[in-house]
């Protein structure tokens, strides 16, 4: 019977091509508009590392100004100081821990005609690579010893390896950056974190860095910092040493804690550490440390842009208009078929079979609208990409979840829109339309 209803639906859609096109277009436009904004919001709020996002915790220590509120009132600051980062690294109380910051280097390729260019760098620790599940094309990350010995080692992104070594296995070769020679130990495979969860402080939707070098090495050679630095009180004296010992925050600290117990133990450790620092005259505010897992941190940092949310709201209202439109047109269509419906009733079709028949017809229109809507959503995303440029390049691709969502939304919308017209169609009395042609 299902295939029979499909056939009837198809015939009915074909009978009024103009009306059908109008309905399919209305749904398609509504789906196109809402799906392009849903996709952007979905990607902005997606879990960038689903396999372990609940085991990775962003550490906040409230070392801030006792007198003045920051932008978020008396919330703990969003980065940590060098003193605290080093103390936590040294304690090593978490399963894995990483202090890192963003920097920039100038890379000098070999060969005289090659011009030097600047690269985005991340100063980090050996745990960074296993902690964030980074996949290597060649080689691997560096080890603990390299962290401690400040070895001049580097991990390259796939793109930079293409650019400098033509994509070959460059492990063991050397790259000259900021006047120093670094040994390549690993080349990453494609790596895209949307949002770039491990450093939302410096742009939640930036691309990952191009190279990775040991944190201690970067500090030792005073390599340029590129990220946000905030200070609530001046350093004690001039110079880099004074800066390192200041209350300025510029480092992101992540801890991997595999169980609730590990998390509680780590929190206790953080509190104890801060209490001990208070003895030394630091941490003037009341104890207020935080451990937030990846998704909690994304929430706190409000990584989903407000404009995206506004557009989402408006586009869903847009879909409502398109649905009201479709209800009207479906009503016109179904009531236009009252002769046919009345005849089928006379020939023994029950109300419920007519109900199913018309809901299937509505669903078919929804499916058509969904398919075209997907196309329009794709166009919409291209439009958004064109308008906003690089900033959104990682947020305008639809995965299969979005494709299925689009189809489901289209069919559900059409069924919803079809409900009232179908009910009206089923209420047509069997005898009413048979007498005159």
């Amino acid at each position: 019977m299902f295939s029979y209803y499909l056939k009837l639906g198809w015939l009915s859609i074909r009978r009024n091509p103009l009306l059908s096109i109008l309905m399919i277009s209305a749904i398609a436009v509504g789906i196109g508009a809402s799906m392009s904004t849903i996709t952007v919001n979905y990607l902005m709020s997606s879990d960038p590392i689903p396999q372990k996002s609940d085991q990775l915790f962003y550490v906040q220590l409230d070392s801030w100004d006792p007198n003045n509120q920051g932008d978020d009132g008396f919330e703990p600051p969003d980065q940590v100081t060098y003193i605290d980062a080093m103390a936590l690294m040294k304690a090593g109380k978490a399963y894995r821990q990483v202090a890192s910051n963003r920097s920039g280097l100038v890379l000098e390729p070999e060969g005289d005609d090659e011009r030097p260019f600047s690269v985005d760098a991340r100063n980090t620790w050996s745990d960074f690579f296993p902690m964030f599940d980074l996949q290597f094309l060649y080689g691997s990350g560096w080890d603990d010893a390299a962290d401690q010995n400040m070895d001049r080692v580097v991990v390259l992104s796939k793109e930079i390896n293409e650019k400098v070594f033509g994509g070959e296995n460059s492990v063991g070769r050397s790259v000259r950056m900021d006047g120093m020679d670094f040994k390549v130990v690993g080349v990453l495979d494609d790596f895209l974190a949307v949002p770039k969860f491990y450093d939302v402080t410096n742009g939640a939707f930036n691309d990952p860095e191009e190279i990775y070098i040991p944190f201690n090495l970067a500090v030792e050679y005073r390599l340029d910092r590129n990220g946000n630095t905030s200070c609530w009180k001046p350093s004690d004296g001039d110079g880099f040493e004074a800066f390192l010992n200041s209350e300025c925050i510029w480092i992101q600290f992540w801890a991997e804690l595999r169980t609730e117990q590990e998390k509680q133990e780590y929190m206790a450790f953080l509190d104890a550490y801060v209490e001990q620092q208070k003895q030394l005259g630091r941490f003037p505010r009341p104890l207020n440390n935080r451990l937030s897992d990846v998704m909690e941190w994304m929430e706190i940092q409000e990584v989903v842009e407000e404009d995206a949310q506004v557009m989402l709201g408006l586009s869903i209202l847009f879909l409502v208009v398109c649905l009201l439109n479709t209800i009207g047109l479906l009503l016109a269509k179904f009531l236009g078929k009252s002769g046919d419906i009345s005849l089928r009733r006379a020939l023994g079709a029950s109300r419920s079979s007519l109900f199913i028949q018309h809901m299937i017809e509505s669903a078919m229109i929804g499916l058509g609208g969904g398919i075209f809507g997907l196309g329009l959503a794709w166009l919409g995303l291209r439009g958004i990409e064109m308008l906003f440029g690089d900033f959104v390049e990682n947020m305008v691709s639809m995965d299969w979840v979005m494709v299925l969502t689009a189809m489901a939304l289209a069919v559900a919308s059409a069924l919803l829109a079809g409900l009232y017209p179908t009910w009206r169609a089923c209420s047509i009395a069997p005898a009413s339309q048979l007498k005159v042609q």
Partner: protein
Amino acid sequence: MLSMQNISMVYRTDLVETHALREFSLEVEEGDFISVTGPSGSGKTTFLNIAGLLEQFTGGRYELDGRDVSSLSDAESSAVRNEKIGFVFQSFNLIPDLNLFDNVDVPLRYRGFNTAERKRRIERVLDTVGLASRMKHLPSQLSGGQQQRVAIARALAGEPRFLLADEPTGNLDSHMAMSVMELIAEINRDGTTIVMVTHDPTLAEMADRNVHIRDGQVSDITTDTQFAKVATG
């Protein structure tokens, strides 16, 4: 077969009540061929609609095959229409988008027959009405008489025991009308009970009995053999 006692049908609007049928009683036996005549507005079509379970009535008792139909649910009365009753309309009411095969197929689909059974029945009834060779044609490609034959085939496909025809020849010329009437008479000879509404006295006489309706009541019943008046209840 069909037994109506004191059936009344009142259409109510805000302002007026219209009595389409009042105290309407009629018995139809298995195998009867009955014609129903009467002036315009006398209640012929209302009677036919009620008889065919197309409309609910306001009062009285109607038994079809000994079963009280007033208590049937929508699904039940749909099933009764589908299995026991065949309809033939003045304006044929074929579905223009469907070919002959698919038009005849419509009630069989609701009956739930399997594909082979439906195909067998469709071919048989189209053969009966002499249109087996034109199965793939659309209704618009046929003459009026042929279209009505298809409509009759559609009514017969479910092997109903009861055929209701509403002015089946009303849109046909006399030559075509005759051939359709012969087909209907033949169906009756094969055992199907037929009730036919018509305003044409010549056609009415082809039935075993003629029921004349006036002002929503049976005014008299004539049998073609006797032409004797029979009192009604």
